[in-house]
Symmetry: C2
DNA sequence: GATTGTGAATTATTTCACAGCT
DNA sequence: AGCTGTGAAATAATTCACAATC
């Protein structure tokens, strides 16, 4: 029963998030307990994997019975740090920014977009659902004054690395980057990347080797 | 020099996509060759990793010199299957759908959104940049008539699993799922999930264990 | 009888280190 | 001398299997 396991892999965190989603669904349906087998089925992994993942953080189940749904939901919420609200700044008020700003599941999870920042003079001063769009010129000041915990960076690739550096310098500890550019930030800033084109490339890769590629000579690639 | 390596991990594919992005940038800057060291630095991985990843598909470099940028770009484009156009259907014309439809990097990569499908009667018949929004009632017929290769599923969680089944039944081989729901599809359909809330949860998890958690007793989670 | 929690075994992935070209 | 390509070694992740518990 490790209190703070030394290091948790990103895959494990992803799965924990999946378990939380499943367990919330079960709770809404009034299910009282769930076995690792059932949970794994619904989360798309294996039962031993579920038990191993959870055991990294404590002992939440009862042998012979399974896991209490409410207790597990509470534990996962706490482990993932979503038992509190987080102050989020949206940097970039383009189309992706707009979609993210309106995304209901962020709010449901306690991710509160409390400020929006953009560089387009036509947008500065306008409001999205009551939240004013402010100028990127004041980036550092806004992030610091608003006690921002995380930044969602939804800007084009070109300005992204420099903006990310400014965000980091303002003391923000975590960045979710939607720009197709690699951010080089100090180790104490957590960066998570979402590259939308890459997700389609994975499909394209897999589809490509489906049919007729068995005999492709590698000479073709010089 | 394996022609069609048996199985390639998802991590490897992700990295290949990263190498392609880097190499395209180098090419635009007129760089002729790149070493595994330089490439790894720019892609955020290690030099042996780059060499291992590439060697899974062939031998693209020259000892003593490095990799020719143009040849490597061509090879990666081919490996990832983005040396051709793909016919993509967007299912779900909400805000996320709108952002994805306008996303320039999809088109740049040959992912052509040739049809848009929604369930909202108010949207059916209207057009986005010339592409008509069609009714989900005709989903199967549209996907088949339009020879759709991939579907981007940008709908709420509730209808997602059933819609995905219909997409699969229509013979589409790949789905990029933005709905926070797990899709259960036959093994011959490739599914890739993007869960936006999860990406913030990863940040939240990491931020949470930054400070003051060393002594948290696990009793608190019962 | 069912199911967890967990060390041990297995499998997968990454890194090392060096022979072989340029 | 510099750098790739790759088997071998090391590390990480997953699965197994079973004692402990309900």
């Amino acid at each position: 029963m490790p209190l703070s396991p030394r290091s948790i892999s990103r895959s494990t965190i992803r799965r924990l998030s999946g378990y939380l989603r499943v367990v919330e669904g079960l709770e809404r349906n009034g299910v009282a307990t769930v076995s690792s087998r059932e949970l794994s089925r619904r989360a798309g992994t294996s039962a031993p994997q579920v038990r191993k993942d959870l055991s990294l953080f404590g002992s939440f189940g009862k042998r012979g019975l399974g896991y209490p749904v409410d207790g597990l939901r509470a534990a996962l919420t706490r482990i993932l740090g979503v038992d509190r609200d987080w102050r989020v700044a949206l940097v970039g008020a383009g189309r992706i920014g707009a979609a993210l700003h309106a995304y209901p599941h962020f709010r449901d999870r306690g991710f509160r977009i409390v400020t929006i920042i953009d560089s387009d003079p036509a947008k500065i001063g306008t409001r999205w659902e009551g939240t004013e769009i402010r100028t990127v010129d004041d980036l550092e000041q806004i992030l610091s004054e608003e006690s921002i915990d995380m930044v969602i960076l939804a800007v084009p690739a070109e300005p992204a690395p420099e903006l990310a550096r400014r965000v980091a310098r303002a003391g923000v500890g975590a960045v979710l980057n939607f720009a197709p550019a690699r951010l080089e930030l100090p180790d104490d800033v957590i960066v998570n990347e979402v590259n939308l084109a890459r997700e389609l490339e994975i499909l394209s890769f897999s589809l490509s080797r489906r049919s007729g590629d068995e005999a492709a000579p590698d000479r073709e690639w010089r």
